[in-house]
Structures are given as C-alpha cells and as structure tokens.
C-alpha cells in the first residue's frame, strides 16, 4: 500500500514537472516579446548582457513604430482619406471616414467578420453532415476534408486570379471569403454535433420546430462550448494569415502580419518596432480568449436524455 502511494506521488511529481516544462516553453517567448517591447534595441540585442527585466522604452518604441512612413500600425482620427470598401455596403463609408484605420484595426475588423461568418457556415454545414442523410454525403464530406491538405502557397495564384475576376483585389472580402467555409471548422462542428441525441431533434420536430429552428434553437445553444473553441481557432487562423493578404492587399489596408513584415527594411531590421507590434498584436487575441473562456464549460448536453 505504502509502495503504491509513493509511486503515485512520484508520478504526480513527474506529471507536474512535465506540465510546468510545457508552460515555461510556451510562456518564455511571450515574456521575451513583452519585455523586449519595453527595451531599447541595444538592450535586448546585446550579446554580452541581454536584459530580461522590463525597461521604460515602450512608449518611445511605439512612437517610432507609429512614425513610420510605410506602415500605419494603429490608426488615428481620419483625415477623410480612407474608407472601408465592402462592395455594396457603402453605408459604412462615412462612419469609417472618421477613423484612419491602421493594421491593428484592419486585422480586428477582418478577423471579427471572418469569425462570425465562418462560425455560421461551419455550424450549418456541420449540422447537415452530422444529422441529415443526403445523396453523396460521404464523398462531399471527404472532398471538403481533402482540401485541408492543400498548402496556401499552391492556392495563392488561383485565388488571386479568382478574386481579381470578382473585382475584389485590395478588398477585405478577398481575405475573408476564400476561407469562410473553413474545412477544419466544418469537421469540428460535424464531430461535435454528432453528440446531439437524435431524440432531442425529433422531440423538437414533434413540438413543431422547422428544420432551421432545430439548428438555431437546439443545435446552436447546446454547442456553445464547441462554438467558443472554434471561434478562437477561426479568429487565430485569420489573425495569422500572411501570404495571401500580402499579395492581394495594398499598403493602406495591410493586416498586422503583413505590416510587421514591412518592418524588415532593406538596410536594417527594426527589432524594437517589431517587438512592440508583436506585443500589441497579442492583446486582442488574449482579450478574446478571456471573453470566451467562460463558455468552455462542458456538459451543456447533460440532462438532455436519460442514459
């Protein structure tokens, strides 16, 4: 008995040590970015004595980032020179003239619109694949999954041609639409929605629900935690998108990854500015995670059907 207790304690120690190691490996780069953003370039690039504690140069770094000619990182009150062009949605014109958007606002706007649209499409497709029978269901599903293996480098040129034919070059829709029906999202929603008991949907049908009501009155509310998890995945996917925005957007509309790329100059790399930009770019993602965290409560389906 004692022997077993000891072995258990050893295992517990090893487990914690492993998890701690994982946490350190994940956290150190983030810490380094946060610290470096507050230091002068010479302080954190020094090969003899790099500083590991925060300094007081954050504002100075930020100001030098904002002062750049080729990158507008965070926007400022508008001089009526920029607007968001979303095709038919010109109602946004005047509103957006009030603020000159920088990369931060562009990224947030694109990621939020993308996440909302993609959540809608992925959950509807996932629901159909999980709970309906139709012809060629399996081939269609596998075809969607198969698109996951296509690397973005392969898609850049055909997508560019497609978007320019649609008249969407230098338009935010060009980086939203191609991934709006996200295959990973469809797969995840389908897997999760399979756990919705058929009886639950049937009982709603008996109660007089239409098929669409099944989706938004039963499936969506019971899938809250999966939707929250997927929202983060989708938001991050769009947030990190680099190559295609670089190709299809012009300088004034750059998103954060593309904007950071501009900080690598021909003569020198502006590490201090990159560190500030990187540190700032973490904040919206961090806030989103905090906001959605409380949705990650499992067991929403508990009590639906008696096992």
């Amino acid at each position: 008995m004692r022997e077993e207790t000891r072995r258990e304690a050893v295992w517990q120690f090893l487990t914690y040590a492993f998890v701690l190691l994982g946490a350190v490996v994940t956290m150190v780069p983030l810490y380094w970015i946060a610290v470096a953003s507050t230091l002068k370039e010479s302080e954190f690039l020094s090969s003899t004595s790099p500083r590991l504690l925060p300094g007081d140069s954050f504002l100075a770094n930020f100001e030098s980032l904002q002062a750049r000619q080729n990158v507008q990182f965070v926007g400022h009150p508008g001089e009526m020179t920029q607007y968001i062009d979303l095709g038919p949605f010109y109602f946004a014109y005047d509103f957006w003239h009030l603020w000159d958007m920088g990369a931060m606002e562009s990224s947030i706007f694109v990621a939020v619109v993308y996440t909302a649209l993609s959540l809608l499409l992925c959950s509807m497709a996932g629901f159909a694949f999980a709970k309906y029978e139709f012809r060629f269901k399996k081939p269609i599903f596998y075809a969607i999954l198969a698109t996951l293996i296509l690397p973005i480098q392969l898609l850049v040129i055909p997508l560019f041609l497609l978007m320019s034919q649609l008249g969407l070059t230098n338009n935010y829709w060009a980086i939203i639409l191609p991934w709006a029906a996200n295959p990973l999202g469809i797969f995840l929603m389908r897997q999760n929605m399979r756990s919705i008991p058929d009886a639950l949907l049937e009982s709603a049908r008996m109660d007089g629900a239409t098929e669409f009501q099944l989706y938004y009155k039963i499936a969506l509310p019971t899938m809250k935690s999966s939707l929250a998890a997927l929202a983060i995945i989708l938001f991050l996917f769009q947030w990190n998108l680099f190559l295609f925005p670089l190709v299809i957007l012009d300088q004034g509309k750059y998103t954060i990854p593309v904007a950071i790329n501009q900080l690598v100059g021909a003569q020198r790399v502006y590490y201090d500015q990159i560190m500030v930009a990187a540190a700032l770019s973490v904040i919206p993602v961090f806030l989103l995670f905090l906001f959605l965290q409380k949705q990650f409560v499992s067991g929403i389906l508990a009590g639906a059907v008696k096992e």
Binding site: A199, E202, S203, M206, G208, A304, E307
Partner: protein
C-alpha cells in the same frame, strides 16, 4: 380528438446492402380515446410503427389516417401529435417552463402570458410547479419523466405517442407512474399509443394490446383476449408471466404423446383430427400438483411468498409451474402434475397457429382464431 387508422403500413430500410422490412403490412385501427399498447420483443417493429404514426419516419407503403384525415404525407410538426421519448429528450439548455412551453411557442399563436398560464396549469396537474425554473440536469429521473409528459400534455394534441416512457425508472416509481399515466390518460381522454417490450406493463395499462413480431402484427385484443385466446404460439408465449410451457407431441387418435412419457387423451379430439404432430401449451398457473398425474423431476423451487415457482424437467423438456406456497418439493424430487383440458392450448406444429385455446368459463371468446394451415 380522433382515432388512428393504419392501412397496410409498410416500412423498409436500406442499410448498406441490407434490406430490412421493419413493419410488414400492418393494419391497425386505434379507436378514439383508446389506450392502445404496442408490445413485442425488441426489433419487432413496434417503435418503427410508432415513429411512422408520429411522422418521424416516412412509410414505404400504406396509409395513416387520423380520423378521416389522411396524414401519410404530413411531416411530424403538421400532425398535431405529441410524443414522449424513452430517454425524455428534454431541451438541456432550457428550464422546465421553457421545455414545456416550447411546443406552444413554436406551433400556436398564443401570447407568452397565455403560454405561461397553460404551462403553470400542466405543471400543477403533474405536481412539478416548484421545478419550473430548473434545468433538466438538476431533476431526478421521475421529475424529468413528468416534464416530458407535461411537454406532451400542454399542447392538447390529437394523440399521445409514448415510446417506452417508463423503462428508465426504477421498479417502484415505474409502478406508480403506470397508474398515474392511466389516470391521466383517462381524464384527458386522448387517443394514446404506447410502446413497450414489457408484457406485464402492456397487460396492466392497455385498453387493448397489439402484439407484434418480426414486423408483423400478430393480434389485437384486450389483455384477457390475448391471454386466453392467442392466435398463435408466439402470442401465447409472449403474453403471460412466467411464460407458457410448450412442447412437441405426436397424435395417435385422441391421444397426445409428449417428451418424458407425457401422455394425454383428449375428450374432444376435433382440434387434432387429421394431424400426427401438434405443439402443446400449458400455462404454469394451470398446472396443479397431484398424486396421479404426469411425472416430472424438480430442478429449482423459487418461493415468491404468495406462490412458488417450480422449475422441473419432463424428459428433456423444461417446465415451469406456479404452485401453492405450501408445495415445497426439493430439487431432485419427482412430483406429478395434472391440468384441466379446458386450459390446454394446441398449436399447429409448423405454422404455430392456434388449434385450441382456453375453453373454460373465464370469458367468452371474442374472435375465432384464423383458419389454421393443415399439416402435411
């Protein structure tokens, strides 16, 4: 309110290469306000039949009518029926009030105040008015069951469909809910189709019982009819607990020869005329221990308090007897039993169709059993 008529309803499934006939040309008439129990072993098609009535499955062939209205092509939500599911299927993200009110919200033009009042009434009827604010996962099995019932009742549907609604409750609660359901159905006077695999439940609850096997409807009748006058060996075997004892016998004139030296001469040999083999059936409760009957060997005695179940062998044939509690033979003892010819069942050796059922003075036969196939 209306009766339900099924005409040659057929349901076939294709699963991969398999072709399954789940419901095989069922004709059934459920009367207005009747409590009809569909009973049968698992896989007999009873639940599929219920789902066809509900509109959750399309029928392959045949028609379903509520009263005079053909509803065969209507979807579930257009049929005005309510269903109670085996696992209750409560909406997990809604509280009890919303669960019960959902049907009215979706399919009626009532205002939310009217819905609330209606929900309140139903909750009081079921004794769950204190639970209206709770979520399903906070409720006990019995309370969840009541919510599921409330959801069905609140809509005043043309019919209730219940798919083994009591099978997830413990024995005591099940017995209590059984009577409660019957009272409720009687008070509401709504046509009810109730599916169960439990023949005791079927006998206890149904105005009439419809017995299914292999997708085919075997017999429809009151509990007494199906018990006393089963149309075939399957019904005789399925109805009654413990099950009827059946065995093969050869016929010589009016005399039946069975396993282990069983021999019985019929006073009325007409049912076995022209046959050389039959199946013999005797219910455990019709067998009495005597001193000069058929000899059998006791294997197990189960004392039940008010009676004893005696398990015995007659040759290689296993038998069950319901005997008085004072009879306590030990395992290995040889005892002898007798029975009344009126209580004897005879079935066709091949088709299982009934040749003779109970003819004692219990109750008059309602229907003549079908013309049995003649043995070769």
């Amino acid at each position: 309110m209306s009766g339900i008529t099924l005409q040659t309803v057929r349901k076939e499934f294709e699963t991969g290469d398999e072709h399954v006939v789940a419901v095989d040309d069922v004709d059934l008439e459920i009367r207005d306000g009747e409590f009809l129990v569909l009973v049968g072993p698992s896989g007999c098609g009873k639940t599929t039949t219920l789902r066809c009535i509900a509109g959750l499955e399309d029928v392959t062939d045949g028609t379903i009518a509520f009263g005079d209205d053909d509803v065969t092509d209507l979807r579930a939500r257009e049929r005005d029926v309510a269903m109670v599911f085996q696992n209750y299927a409560l909406y997990p993200h809604m509280n009890v009030r919303e669960n019960i009110g959902m049907g009215l919200k979706l399919s009626s033009s009532m205002t939310s105040a009217e819905i609330d009042a209606k929900v309140q009434d139903v909750a009081e009827l079921l004794g769950i008015e204190d639970l209206l604010g709770q979520k399903p996962k906070e409720l006990s099995g019995g309370q969840q069951q009541r919510v599921a019932l409330g959801r069905a009742i609140v809509r005043d549907p043309a019919a209730f469909l219940m798919d083994e609604p009591l099978s997830n409750l413990d024995a005591k609660l099940r017995a209590q809910m059984r009577t409660e359901l019957q009272t409720l159905q009687h008070d509401l006077d709504v046509t009810t189709v109730y599916v169960t695999h439990d023949q005791t439940e079927a006998m206890a609850m149904g105005d009439r019982i419809a017995i299914m096997n292999g997708g085919e409807l075997q017999q429809v009748g009151t509990a007494e009819e199906v018990y006393r006058s089963p149309v075939n060996e399957f019904v005789a075997d399925f109805i009654g607990s413990p099950s009827i004892n059946t065995f093969d016998a050869t016929v010589e004139g009016a005399t039946l020869h069975g396993p282990g030296g069983f021999e019985y001469t019929l006073s009325d040999p007409s049912p076995v005329e022209g046959r050389d083999r039959v199946r013999v059936g005797i219910r455990p409760e019709d067998m009495t221990l005597v001193d000069d009957g058929v000899a059998i060997d006791t294997t197990v005695l189960e004392p039940m308090g008010n009676e004893n179940f005696l398990y015995a062998t007659m040759g290689d044939q296993e038998l069950t007897l319901r005997v008085v509690p004072s009879a306590r033979p030990s395992p290995g003892d040889t005892v002898e039993f007798a029975f009344d010819e009126d209580a004897l069942y005879l079935f066709d050796a091949n088709s299982g169709a009934a040749l003779k059922t109970k003819t004692d003075a219990g109750a008059p036969l309602v229907e003549e059993p079908e013309e049995p196939e003649v043995a070769e």
